[in-house]
Structures are given as structure tokens and as C-alpha cells.
């Protein structure tokens, strides 16, 4: 633990600061590099005044020094402490069990848990590698490394002066990492923090703040993404298309499943998956579409779901110019009450809330799809599939406005021999 080391250094304080630096060459003593060294010495001197009588025995000093030598020796003065502890523990398999074993190893090694602050910081750094950054019991285990009840202030002076600041900072780091990964602490965490740091310490205050804000932010996203997204591209496409469409009556059709086949000639033919979505409203709009005007296939547009990016394509039409918009007022449309009053009065200016400055008039969107490959052939297959439910597509010209998708851009940057398909896929008109 730090107190013996502090005592040691306090003794050397009296001999001057130069010796201090000498006493701890290979180790990073973070508390020394703090903002004002003078302030740091105060709690050190307080403790040394209090406990100097007990520890003035000479045996302790050589043994402490001996311990340091041993520790230093085993660590070869590496600047990143405790790394090899984790390296040793995982034995090629980075799992939660290995991580827990490393933590336990440290705890068993020394009853006084010397160097626990560095160990905890190293452990927090290593968590993503072992894949345990979202496990609450691992965090509780790490908090368990702190020695209990030592850092709880015992009198008003200790309470005033930021008792054991490095340890409190370390505790705050643990909670901060929990906060960054969005993990809500539980009762065990609270109990540990209270036991270790006492009631009014910084880590406990941070815990209280976490417990105040986290519940309020848990459901703040009105369109939450499930924590574990499916790996299968068809399922992923299903979820993301439903998310874009946001219409419960929209129907998803899988036009084609991805498969790689070896044909008789020995050539490999790969088929990308095509998943499309269309709602009954969109079907109706398409049915009313004038076949003389073309419809456009545009894409790919990116959709980010946490860390995955998927691309979708859209089938849309142009907005009709105001002259061509039909407004037939059929007075016999409704049997029971008139749908249209034959008055010369318009909506009053104080009641007209329909004006939205940034609402741009957009053309109708008829369907959307996600495909494994973004080339015209695949999307043509999609249009063919759509024709089953929307026969009007067979008479409508379909224009493909395809931007180069991510795979094509990748391929272009990889191979220097200019890929010709990019300019060709641009503005290619095709009569289907």
C-alpha cells in the first residue's frame, strides 16, 4: 500500500527534493506530478506525524526498501505497469474468466495491495481487449481491489482536505468508464464505494450523479436500436428497412437470398441478397402514377446503426408540376354529407397553421430496398420483383441514378487500372 511508501518519501523529504526524485526513478509517481507538490505533502506529513511513532522502527524501512527492490526488479522498470500480469493471465484466450483471474492474481499477491491504483488503471485500459467493458460484475470486481475502509476520512481535517486524492481519482475513473459504456451501477457498487471511500467522497458523489441521470436517459431515445444487431444481412436489412419506413403496415419481401453457386461450367456465380419494403400507401401511389413519366432508382444512401453502416436504395418519382395536379371535386363522393362546401370563403389567416418554411415539396417514394451489391443488374432484379405487385412498373421507364457504393469505391482505390463501371452506371437510361 501507498502509506509505507509515502512514509519513506516523507523521511526523504526532509533531506530535500532532489533525493525524492532519486528515490523513485523507474516508477511513475502520479501524485508527485500533481499540480502543487506542496499541497500533496500535507496529508503525507499529517499521516507521518500521526504514525511516525509506530513506524519509526528501523526494520520497516529496510524491508520496505527491499520490497520496492523486489517489485522493481520483477518489473524491469517498464513504463506501463501490470501489462505482463494480463498477458500472463489470458494464455491466448481473452475472456472474462481470464480477466477475473488476472484481477484475483493481483489481489492474492499482496495483502496490502500495493500499487493498486496503477493496477486498476491498467485493468480499465485492458478491459476492451478482453471484451468485458460492458460487464457490471467485472467493474465490481475491480472496485473490490481497493482496500476497504482505509480511505474513509476519520476526522474533520481529513474530510476537509481531499483525503487520498489519487485513490478517489482512480475510483472516479472506474465510474467514468462505466458511464462511457452506459452501464448502470447496482447496489453492490454502491455498497463497495461506501465501504471504500465513505459517504461524502468524490466517487460516491459521482455514483449519486450517475444514479440520478442514467435512469432519466435510459428511455430518452424514441427509436431505440436493439443492443445486439443481427449478423445475417437479410435480418439486418429487415430491421433497418422497417426503421426507415416507420409504417407498421409496410410489407417486407425478400426477393433474393444471397448464395454462391458453382455452375456446370465451373464458373462461380454469386447472388447478392435483395430485401425490399413497400407499404399499401406506396403501392396505391404507384398505381396512380402516370406511366409516361419515368421513375428513378436512387442510391445508395447510408444508414448508420450504432457502428454498422448499411446502404439502401429508393424508388421515387418526380413531384408533379402544379398544372398537372388533378383536383377533381366529385360532389357525389360521399352519400351522407358533402365533402366540399360551395362557399367562396377560405381558411382565415389566424387559423392557417399549415405553413412550414422548410418543408420542401418532394415527389412520392414508391419503395425501398437493400441489396448485397449496388449494381444495376441486381436492382433491375428488384424492379422485376416489384412488378409482381405493381404491374404499372412494366410500362413505366425506370431510370437508374446510382452513385458508386462503398464496395465500388474500395475496388477503385485498390486497383489502379481504372474501373470503367463507375461512369457507365451513371445516368444509364434503360427501357425495361
Amino acid at each position: 500500500m501507498n502509506c509505507v511508501r509515502k512514509l519513506l518519501l516523507a523521511r526523504e523529504l526532509s533531506a530535500g527534493r532532489g533525493i525524492l526524485r532519486q528515490a523513485a526513478p523507474g516508477r511513475d509517481l502520479p501524485w508527485l506530478q500533481g499540480s502543487s507538490c506542496a499541497q500533496r505533502f500535507w496529508p503525507v506529513s499529517v499521516r507521518s506525524i500521526r504514525s511516525s511513532a509506530a513506524l519509526s522502527r528501523s526494520e520497516l524501512i529496510p524491508s520496505a526498501r527491499g520490497d520496492k527492490e523486489k517489485d522493481r526488479g520483477s518489473r524491469d522498470g517498464s513504463l506501463v505497469p501490470f501489462d505482463e500480469l494480463f498477458e500472463r493471465a489470458h494464455e491466448g484466450d481473452r475472456t472474462k474468466a481470464a480477466f477475473s483471474r488476472a484481477v484475483e492474481l493481483f489481489c492474492q499477491r499482496d495483502i496490502r495491495r500495493r500499487g493498486h491504483v496503477e493496477f486498476i488503471k491498467a485493468a480499465l485500459r485492458k478491459m476492451p481487449e478482453f471484451g468485458v467493458e460492458r460487464e457490471l460484475d467485472v467493474y465490481n470486481k475491480i472496485l473490490d481491489v481497493f482496500p476497504k475502509e482505509v480511505f474513509v476520512p476519520r476526522n474533520f481535517i481529513q474530510r476537509m482536505f481531499n483525503h487520498y486524492p489519487r485513490q478517489q481519482e482512480c475510483g472516479i475513473h472506474v465510474l467514468e468508464q462505466m458511464e462511457n459504456y452506459g452501464i448502470m451501477p447496482d447496489k453492490q457498487t454502491k455498497f463497495l464505494l461506501l465501504q471504500i471511500f465513505g459517504k461524502k467522497s468524490h466517487p460516491v458523489r459521482k455514483y449519486q450523479r450517475l444514479m440520478y441521470w442514467f435512469p432519466r436517459f435510459k428511455h430518452v431515445n424514441p427509436y431505440p436500436i436493439p443492443a445486439a444487431l443481427p449478423r445475417d444481412p437479410v435480418d439486418l436489412a429487415r430491421i433497418s428497412l422497417q426503421r426507415i419506413a416507420a409504417d407498421l403496415s409496410a410489407k417486407i419481401t425478400v426477393y433474393q437470398m444471397s448464395l454462391t453457386d458453382v455452375s456446370d461450367a465451373g464458373k462461380e456465380i454469386t447472388q447478392p441478397h435483395i430485401v425490399g419494403i413497400q407499404s399499401p400507401d406506396q403501392q396505391e401511389l404507384l398505381a396512380h402514377h402516370n406511366p409516361a413519366r419515368p421513375v428513378f432508382v436512387e442510391g445508395p444512401f447510408p444508414l448508420w446503426l450504432k457502428k454498422t453502416c448499411v446502404y439502401y436504395y429508393v424508388l421515387r418519382g418526380e413531384p408533379l408540376p402544379p398544372e398537372e395536379k388533378e383536383e377533381t371535386i366529385d360532389s357525389e363522393r360521399n352519400f351522407f354529407y358533402p365533402l366540399h362546401l360551395d362557399l367562396d370563403l377560405d381558411r382565415g389567416p389566424w387559423d392557417d397553421e399549415e405553413f412550414y418554411v422548410d418543408e420542401v415539396e418532394e415527389g412520392p417514394i414508391f419503395a425501398m430496398c437493400m441489396a448485397g451489391a449496388g449494381d444495376q443488374a441486381t436492382l433491375a432484379k428488384w424492379i422485376l420483383g416489384l412488378q409482381q405487385t405493381n404491374p404499372i412498373l412494366s410500362q413505366t421507364p425506370v431510370v437508374f441514378h446510382l452513385k458508386p457504393g462503398p464496395q465500388e469505391l474500395q475496388a477503385a482505390s485498390d486497383s489502379e487500372s481504372g474501373e470503367e463501371e463507375i461512369p457507365q452506371s451513371w445516368h444509364a437510361k434503360q427501357e425495361l
Binding site: P215, R216, F217, K218, H219, V220, L248, S249, P280, R333, N334, L339
Partner: protein, 588 residues
């Protein structure tokens, strides 16, 4: 002081504000436990319970009953040592939400446990419990509650069945017939209420009601054929006749002559679950109806785009929300240790939920139009099943009187001294009252500690909280005025009492909704902004309704039509017919 006592009428509610705010919660472990129950029960009800067939055949198939028994639903509130599930009131209400998907099954289960065996649970001796509860929990024996007779429905104290003590003093001979007994044909254990001769404290012999546990095996128990009902047709309702049935003395529940109290406790403890059951049914209806409204198109517009249809959905959502809030608030209060009797609150929940359910089912059927009227769709079955909610477990009229009179009793005790002063002509008090009324008419600002800096209500609900406070204050003043006018003869003024009860129910509903919404915002539940909307809608509507009703209570109010109503009723009932001349009549 008059101001502080003006709002005491609001019974258990205001001065135990800490029971209402914050909204009662259950711990995480309990929540997990109840969610584990919810899953299999929901699955069972959606797959294995064929409500249409049950309705058509007027019978619950034995496989369904067996499934229910295996799920443990026959002993939900029986403690675990007797083989039941030992659920608390809150968990029972939660399961009631799912069970209410089928009305007949819900009524069968309720008749078995909420009233049938409740007597043994709350007032039985340990031997009685050990003897009967295990078999009842497993469902081997089914229980029924026998109180109603042909001559006494709501008037339960006028029952004629007699239980005479035998010569050796070891048993009673029970004679009588009971009518409309749910589970009458299936039950093996009956909780029967009959008149016994009891010796009063001063030695006079009086006929008092006692409660007995009667087994069918005692002999002399016969039941008639199942009644053909409008709704809940799957529930077995029939007459039960007792002819010289020998009931051992050990089977008396409570003490001889103490049946009235037992009956009151039994009936008062089961009422609150109707709130969550109705809420569960309405939630299901909203799902089904919304599916229809969002797909059907008329006049090139989806039904869901029409304002009148949207209003119906809002009504259903608001009613379901308030019912849930009230039911779980009452259940939470009852679960807390050391809480006084919550029977008035439970009665308020029952009245509000039954009427709300009837209106909402009717509106849902209306959304579907002609399809809702067809037997192919479940709406007409839900409508028929929900009609009984206004009748059984205490008719709504009786419960309104109960709510109003219990409140009056309580308020009267506290205000009697003050009122007597006034009537004696004490000038100081009369002046005080005059000044207060004057200030009221000038628009007094009311502060009961609900809203504001240290208030328990979240600032988003400040308006609703203020409306509630205002209503409570003026209600207190109105009640005091009524007591001054009528005194104890208010018992006969049913039209006035009905208004008092309506306001009380609305106030309790507003409190429950505000409490629940405050909690939702504070802990950040999903869609809490929607809850705030629902609460504000309900509170605004209830506020205006309450103000109108309280205006009617005033003696010479223009809105008060009580005298006219009584006159018309008297004329119609005198001739027992409609007495107006036909519009086509001529005199010359």
C-alpha cells in the same frame, strides 16, 4: 380553523399524502418474479383459451380448467404454506390484467378466490385454513360465495336462510336457498351466510348473520340448472338450495353472529382488481381496434385520419391509464404494512373502472361499425361481458352511496362541533364563514402543498396539480355546506350523495394519475411525455366536470334539477307509465 379543515372530507387521502405520493413501487426482485408469472399465463390465454367457444357453449371446457389449475391460478392469494402462490395485492392485480382477456374465466376465478375462499383466508382459524386451503389452492375443490337470495340482492342483511343449532350443540342445521351463485354448479366449498340466533351483550336474543364453510359432502346441497346469461356465459351461475345441511360448529367463520363484518371485509378486499382487469381488457381492445382503423380506408382516407375516430382512441387511452393508476395505487396502499382500511378507495376504483370499461368497449365497437356488431368479431362478446361489471360486486349505485356516506360520516364527526356552533347562532363563527365564502367568491388561491417548490408533484404537472388542489378545497366547502343543510338526514338524499360520490371518484382518479405521471417523469420511464399528456387531458376534463357538479350541489343553483327530477319520477311512477299525451292528440 375553517380553512385547514375544509378539505378533510377527502378521507384517507390528504392527511396521508405520504401514502399517495410517491406512487407505490415494487422492488426489482418482485418485478422479475411477477414477469416470470406473466409470460406463461399470457401464452396460455392467447393459445389455449377459446373464448368464442366458451361463449357459445356457455361452458368452460375441462381442459381449460385443468390448464388454469396447473398454472396455479386457483390459489393466487393463498399463502405458499398452504400450496398457493402467495401473491401480494399488486401482483394479483397484475395477473388480473391478463386473466380479464376472457370474461368467463376471470369471473370463475374471481368467484373462487376473491370472494369464495377469501373468508377462510382473512377470518378463518388455523385449523380451517389447514383443512380447506390446500385443496382449494390446487383447484381440486372450487369455492363459491353464497349470500344473495331471491329476496335480497343489494339488501344483503335481509337474508332469510336460517341455521339452527342442533340439540347437542355440535352442529348447525342450514336451511335456505341462494340464487345467482357463481361457480354454484362446480363448487365443493361454499361460504354461506345465514341467520342464527345470537345472544346479545344484554342477554336479548337477536337474529344475526353468521358465515359458515359448507362442504357439498355434508349433504342436502343441491343446485339448479345453470342460468342463461347475457354475458360471461361460460361462468356457471345457478341456484343453490340447502336442505337440513349439517354444518359442524368448527366451520363457523369468525364468530357466531359476526357474519356481517366477515362479508364486508370479503367484499371490500376484492374490488380493486377490477381496475387492472378493465385496463388490461381496454389495452387489448386498443390494439385490435387500432389495427383495423389504420388499415381500413373510407373516402380515400384511413379511418385513423378522422377526428371522431381519433377522439375515441384518446378516450380509451385516457381511461385505461387512469384505471391502471387507481388500481395499482390502491393495491400498493393495501400492500403497505399498517395502512388503514382502503375499502372506500377500492369502491372508487370499482365504480370508475366498470363504467369506463362499458363506455370504452362501446366506443371500440363503434369504430368497427358493422363488423363490431357481428359475432365473428369479439367486440360484442366483450360488450356483453363488461355489462356485468356495473352490477356485480356491489352495484355502482350502492357503492356510490357507500363512498359518499362513509365520507360524510368521517367529515361529519370532525365538523359537527363547528356546525353546531353555527346553528346555535354564534356570531363569531358565522362571521368567519361569511368572510371565507366572500373570499371564495373573489377567487381564493389554494395551496395544499402539492405543487410549488417543495411540492410532491413534478413541475410538468403543475397545472393539473393546481386544478386538483382547487377542486379539493371547494369540495370540502361544498360538503360542509351540505352537512349544515341536511345533517344526518342526508342519508335519504341520494341525488345529492351521488354527486358527492362522483366528485370524490374524480378527485381520487386525478390524484392517482398525477402521482403516477410524476413518478414516470422522475425516473424517466419510456414515453413519459405521453403519460403527461394523458394526465393533463384527464385532469382538465375532470376539473370542469367537478366544478359543474359542485355548482349543482348548491341549494338554489340553476343547474340543480333535483326537485324537477323527483317530481317527474313521482308522476311517472304513480301511473307506472309514460303520462304525456300523444303528440297527435287533439282536443277539438
Amino acid at each position: 380553523m375553517l380553512t385547514s379543515k375544509s378539505h378533510i372530507f377527502f378521507l384517507n387521502l390528504l392527511f396521508i399524502l405520504n401514502y399517495l405520493f410517491p406512487y407505490p413501487e415494487i422492488s426489482n426482485e418482485e418485478l422479475e418474479e411477477i414477469n416470470q408469472f406473466v409470460g406463461p399465463v399470457e401464452k396460455f390465454f392467447s393459445e389455449e383459451v377459446d373464448s368464442k367457444r366458451i361463449d357459445q357453449d356457455a361452458k368452460i371446457p375441462p381442459e381449460t380448467l385443468k390448464g388454469l389449475k396447473s398454472l396455479g391460478l386457483f390459489g393466487m392469494q393463498i399463502p405458499e404454506e398452504y400450496g398457493g402462490l402467495g401473491l401480494s395485492n399488486t401482483m394479483y392485480a397484475r395477473l388480473g390484467e391478463i386473466i380479464s382477456l376472457d370474461g368467463s374465466v376471470a369471473v370463475t376465478l374471481a368467484a373462487h378466490q376473491a370472494i369464495g375462499l377469501k373468508g377462510i383466508l382473512i377470518a378463518g382459524t388455523d385449523e380451517q385454513k389447514a383443512k380447506y386451503l390446500p385443496k382449494l389452492a390446487s383447484g381440486e375443490h372450487i369455492a363459491a360465495f353464497c349470500l344473495t337470495e331471491p329476496g335480497s340482492g343489494s339488501d344483503a342483511a335481509s337474508i332469510q336462510s336460517r341455521a339452527t343449532m342442533s340439540e347437542d350443540g355440535k352442529s348447525f342445521l342450514l336451511n335456505g336457498s341462494k340464487v345467482w351463485i357463481s361457480n354454484g354448479g362446480l363448487a365443493d366449498i361454499f361460504t354461506v351466510f345465514a341467520r342464527t340466533e345470537a345472544v346479545d351483550n344484554d342477554g336479548t336474543k337477536k337474529d344475526k348473520i353468521s358465515a359458515f364453510i359448507v362442504e357439498r359432502a355434508f349433504g342436502g346441497v343441491t343446485n339448479g340448472k345453470p342460468e342463461d346469461k347475457l354475458g360471461i356465459r361460460g361462468s356457471n351461475t345457478c341456484e343453490v338450495h340447502f336442505e337440513n345441511t349439517k354444518v359442524p360448529v368448527e366451520n363457523v367463520i369468525g364468530e357466531v353472529g359476526g357474519g356481517f363484518k366477515v362479508a364486508m371485509n370479503i367484499l371490500n378486499s376484492g374490488r380493486f382488481s377490477m381496475g387492472s382487469a378493465s385496463a388490461g381488457m381496454i389495452k387489448k381492445l386498443i390494439e385490435m381496434t387500432a389495427e383495423y382503423a389504420c388499415t381500413r380506408k373510407q373516402f380515400n382516407k384511413k379511418l385513423s385520419d378522422f377526428g371522431l375516430i381519433q377522439e375515441k382512441f384518446t378516450l380509451m387511452a385516457v381511461k385505461a391509464y387512469v384505471m391502471e393508476s387507481m388500481a395499482y395505487l390502491t393495491a400498493g396502499m393495501m400492500d403497505r404494512p399498517g395502512v388503514p382500511d382502503c375499502s372506500v378507495e377500492a369502491a372508487m376504483v370499482k365504480v370508475f373502472s366498470s363504467e369506463g370499461a362499458w363506455i370504452c368497449v362501446s366506443e371500440a365497437l363503434q369504430v368497427l361499425g358493422g363488423l363490431g356488431y357481428m359475432k365473428d368479431y369479439p367486440y360484442e362478446r366483450y360488450l356483453r361481458d363488461s355489462r356485468i361489471l356495473l352490477i356485480f360486486e356491489g352495484t355502482n349505485e350502492i357503492l356510490r352511496m357507500y363512498i359518499a356516506l362513509t365520507g360524510m360520516q368521517y367529515a361529519g364527526k370532525i365538523l359537527t362541533g363547528k356546525i353546531k356552533y353555527v346553528l346555535k347562532g354564534n356570531v363569531g363563527v358565522a362571521l368567519e364563514i361569511f368572510v371565507n365564502q366572500f373570499r371564495d367568491s373573489m377567487g381564493r388561491k389554494v395551496d395544499l402543498g402539492l405543487v410549488g417548490k417543495d411540492g410532491v408533484v413534478h413541475p410538468s404537472l403543475e397545472e393539473s396539480g393546481k386544478k386538483l388542489e382547487e377542486n379539493i378545497y371547494y369540495f370540502g366547502a361544498a360538503v360542509e355546506g351540505l352537512l349544515r343543510r341536511f345533517g344526518k338526514t342526508i342519508v335519504d338524499e341520494q341525488l345529492v350523495l351521488k354527486r358527492v360520490a362522483d366528485v370524490s371518484i374524480n378527485l381520487y382518479a386525478m390524484t392517482a394519475a398525477i402521482s403516477r405521471a410524476s413518478r414516470s417523469i422522475s425516473i424517466g420511464l419510456r414515453n413519459h411525455d405521453h403519460e403527461v399528456l394523458l394526465t393533463n387531458i384527464f385532469c382538465t376534463e375532470a376539473y370542469f366536470k367537478n366544478n359543474y357538479v359542485m355548482a349543482e350541489i348548491e341549494k338554489y343553483a340553476a343547474e340543480n334539477l333535483d326537485d324537477s327530477i323527483k317530481k317527474v319520477a313521482q308522476q311517472v311512477l304513480e301511473k307506472r307509465a309514460y303520462i304525456c299525451s300523444h303528440p297527435l292528440e287533439r282536443t277539438f
